[in-house]
């Protein structure tokens, strides 16, 4: 059945600072289809989306809506052409109602006076038509995440969007809520609305999609129709031929002293029944998709967020729930949100390095030992190759990679024996990445234990001595021998069975 094409993008090129992020990419979405866009991080997915939604301007290529060539230079153009986006971060106004949130900016009105009845009727009508479990008068502040997402979808529908782009929509949803979302998606499709679905959860993608487009390294890799979807082939398209086993290490089962023993760690709605051991000198990689509970677990262990039940033993003793005590007993934590939680932007490298080391940098417990701190930071800067090599530079002026080195450096030079690391190389250039890996490996050899959470499977395979796979808050698989491939990890994280 030949369906008409809603959006057609041809030969799209986009460059940033001389790097081709999108290279002659072709892409099309039919009316009333669920189309998934797959690709590794850095494959160009989000850039393509941003071009379609008007955030970026394409360098060359054409876009056509319903056969008519269009230029999309800003958000307004995108909206005018019937394209809507539902992001992971919601842009809702909590103290307003659902109806107000949906219609604000284009409210029906007469001489400036709101036509509240029409507003409510319009929104309520949409709610009932698509079967959302909402009410037009609900206050957004009272809604849960799944319902907020529904409001975002409603916003899209209210201006008759013909294409709704959904970016990782299920990462924060429970299983039940995800089911509800899938029902809504099917409903939309039945009514002729196209859905562009972006997700790393391959099981969902395979179940929902009518077609899948795979991007790799900024180029088209393949397009699959529903009947052609075969997990191995899709993953192959995403990864390409290069990474079968070259860069990964030989995994080994855990041996030696148990540094960390986790039993039955549970936090309702986030992770459940986590039980595993971490041995001295291991680099335990934790694979999984965004929203599978890994970051939350790490934060729970370190003492940042509380958990509901379970025990954590550190070196044979119950771990403290107090961050300061944990730091003192040798645990370090590297947050995934470098900019927001990793460093103090307008303070120097030296001061940032000192933040965790006051017990070593004090004179008489009250005064700050500036001389020692200066030596210390100079040491770190040179050993970790931080550029510019001046400890007085304010960290906000460093590149992402160097900032991360500062974040990592303060723990390593504290002599922390257990490092909980969360996404250490996001936004870090290749050179700095390698340096950070080398540093981690060196410290592991010296007996430092590392728990590494990462969404970059390549990174996990490169660095880890053992890998646990998380999915939806549970540990689903352990890799502790041989050399698994990216394909293996991908299957495991998506909860699929490899035949």
């Amino acid at each position: 059945m030949e369906q008409s094409i809603f959006l057609k993008a041809e030969q799209i090129v986009k460059e940033f600072s001389g790097v081709r992020v999108l290279d002659q990419v072709n892409f099309e979405i039919r009316k009333g289809e669920v189309h998934s866009l797959l690709g590794e991080n850095g494959a160009g997915k989000s850039t393509l989306i941003k071009i379609i939604t008007g955030v970026y301007r394409k360098d060359s290529g054409t876009l056509a809506i319903n056969g008519v060539p269009v230029e999309i230079n800003n958000r307004q153009d995108s909206i005018k052409n019937g394209i809507a986006v539902v992001y992971q971060e919601f842009s809702l106004m909590p103290t307003l109602t659902v109806a107000q949130n949906v219609l604000v900016g284009c409210e029906p009105s007469r001489f400036g006076f709101l036509d509240k009845k029409r507003m409510k009727a319009h929104v309520q009508g949409l709610i009932e038509e698509y079967g959302f479990s909402l009410h037009a008068d609900d206050l957004v502040a009272d809604l849960g995440i799944a319902e907020c997402q529904m409001v975002e979808i409603l916003k899209a529908l209210s201006f008759n969007a013909e294409l709704v782009i959904m970016d990782e929509p299920t990462s924060a949803l429970s299983v039940k809520e995800s089911e509800a979302l899938f029902a809504i998606i099917r409903n939309l499709r039945a009514k002729g609305v196209s859905i562009l679905y972006i997700s790393h959860r391959l099981d969902e993608v395979y179940m929902l999609s009518d077609r899948i487009t795979v991007l790799r390294d900024g180029k088209n890799a393949d397009v699959f129709d529903k009947e052609q979807i075969e997990p191995a082939a899709v993953v192959h398209a995403m990864i390409g031929k290069a990474f079968e086993s070259d860069d990964s290490r030989e995994l080994k089962p855990g041996r030696g002293d148990k540094v960390l023993e986790v039993r039955g760690l549970t936090k309702k709605g986030v992770y459940e029944g986590l039980s595993f051991d971490v041995h001295k000198g291991e680099i335990l990689g934790i694979a999984g998709l965004v929203g599978s509970g890994r970051t939350e677990m790490l934060r729970g262990i370190f003492g940042v967020d509380p958990y509901d039940s379970g025990t954590v033993m550190y070196n044979g003793r119950k771990i403290s729930r107090n961050i300061y005590k944990n730091i003192r007993s040798g645990i370090g934590f590297i947050t995934e949100d470098r900019r927001g939680e990793g460093f103090v932007p307008f303070r120097s490298i030296e001061m940032n390095l000192a933040m965790v080391n006051y017990d070593a940098l004090n004179k008489g417990r009250v005064f700050f030992d500036k001389a020692k701190s200066r030596r210390f930071s100079g040491d770190v800067v040179s050993k970790m190759n931080i550029k510019p090599p001046d400890p007085n530079v304010k960290v906000t002026f460093l590149s992402g990679g160097n900032q991360q080195k500062v974040v990592v450096g303060k723990w390593l030079f504290r002599g922390s024996r257990l490092l909980l690391v969360d996404e250490p190389t996001v936004g870090v250039d290749i050179g700095a990445k390698e340096e950070i890996y080398t540093i981690m490996e060196k410290y592991a050899r010296d007996g430092v234990t590392i728990v590494l959470v990462s969404s970059d499977n390549q990174e996990l395979l490169r660095v880890s001595t053992r890998i646990l796979v998380f999915s939806k808050g549970r540990i689903v698989k352990e890799f502790d021998k041989g050399r698994p491939t990216q394909k293996d990890l991908m299957f495991a994280t998506s909860n699929l069975d490899q035949e």
């Binding site: 106004m93 909590p94 103290t95 107000q100 900016g105 709101l114 009410h135 009272d142």
Partner: protein, 330 residues
């Protein structure tokens, strides 16, 4: 999700209940409290603050603050006195000019905030100084160049300070302005946009709301309300003094806050002109009552502060409870 009809503006009931309790307390301790004329008094005294609070509620709804309102009222009051005495302009013209001046003051305030890109808090403190300075620049001086108070003799103008029978004009104006403000806030596009900006400015802008225009409008409304308040204040006092409306900005802000403005990001669904009115009445009843039962005037100030802190804590409590409820619902 429960489909209950939520009572919005629940926070406004707290000061109302407090007023009721206060009223009962004061009336038992004093014979003069529970009389019609006293209530008219309370209403009248609260009116000027209330009108300013009304205008301020627009600004606070959108997530800004305005600490210069008192200075603006003082400046405009002095301006009106100047127009009448130095220029001998007719009352109607004076009122019109002051009104326009008020709007200009609002524009100035917003201009500074936009240009500096700083928080409205710091900027309006600076503009407060400027307006106060201006007020004294155009003040009347005696032979020794000291500021004096010149009484206004304009009967038409002074009449505004009175009323029909026992209902003062200023109170009528207050009530009318509150009603008009409420209509604007709850039933117009502008009101919704202001609320949206206060709720989540980024999201509001993304929805296509023109933040600049909307906030500017709020400041202009505030300025205009200040103008109205200043006219009534000066006509009641009979002169424009150097200390005119000192401290008014804090009382106006306290009124809006006590009337329910949430502090988790100043703008919220509970900021409204009605809240401003309730808050102003509350404050005035407090002051009046303490005076009537012969407690030292200092207690008025103490309880003002306590009322503010109580409302702040109440707000925090509600936020906390909401968080709990949301967690339990998961």
């Amino acid at each position: 999700m429960k489909k209950r009809i939520r009572i919005k503006n629940y926070k406004i009931f707290i000061p109302m209940v407090m007023m009721l309790l206060m009223g009962m307390f004061f009336s038992t301790r004093s014979d003069f409290f529970l009389s019609g004329s006293n209530f008219i008094n309370i209403l009248r005294e609260a009116s000027v603050t209330g009108i300013v609070a009304c205008g301020l509620s627009f600004v606070m709804m959108a997530g800004d603050v305005d600490l210069s309102t008192g200075a603006v009222v003082g400046f405009l009051g002095m301006l009106s006195a100047n127009f009448m005495i130095r220029f001998g302009l007719p009352v109607i013209l004076v009122i019109l000019l002051v009104f326009i001046a008020g709007i200009l003051c609002g524009i100035f305030n917003f201009f500074i905030i936009e240009k500096l890109g700083l928080s409205a808090f710091i900027c309006t403190i600076a503009t407060k100084n400027i307006f106060r300075g201006l007020q004294l620049v155009i003040a009347f001086r005696d032979n020794y160049n000291e500021v004096t108070t010149v009484s206004l003799k304009n009967p038409g103008f002074l009449m505004l300070g009175k009323g029909i029978g026992s209902l003062y004009y200023v109170t009528i104006a207050f009530v009318v302005l509150v009603v008009v403000s409420l209509v604007i806030q709850k039933k117009t596009k502008l009101g919704l946009h202001l609320l949206a900006l206060g709720s989540n400015r980024g999201a509001a802008v993304m929805s296509g709301i023109n933040a600049k225009k909307t906030r500017l409008t709020a400041f202009c409304i505030s300025g205009a309300m200040c103008a109205v308040a200043s006219i009534f204040l000066v006509s009641r006092v009979g002169a424009a003094t150097a200390e005119l409306a000192t401290g008014l900005e804090f009382d106006a802000m306290a009124s809006v806050i006590i009337g329910g403005a949430a502090m988790m990001g100043i703008g919220s669904g509970d900021t409204s002109a009605l809240g401003g009115m309730v808050g102003a009445l509350f404050l005035e009843m407090l002051i009046n009552g303490i005076y009537k039962i012969n407690m030292p005037a200092a207690y008025q100030i103490v309880f003002k502060g306590l009322a503010l802190i109580v409302m702040i804590l109440v707000d925090a409590l509600f936020v906390f409870l909401k968080g709990r409820r949301a967690k339990a619902a998961q």
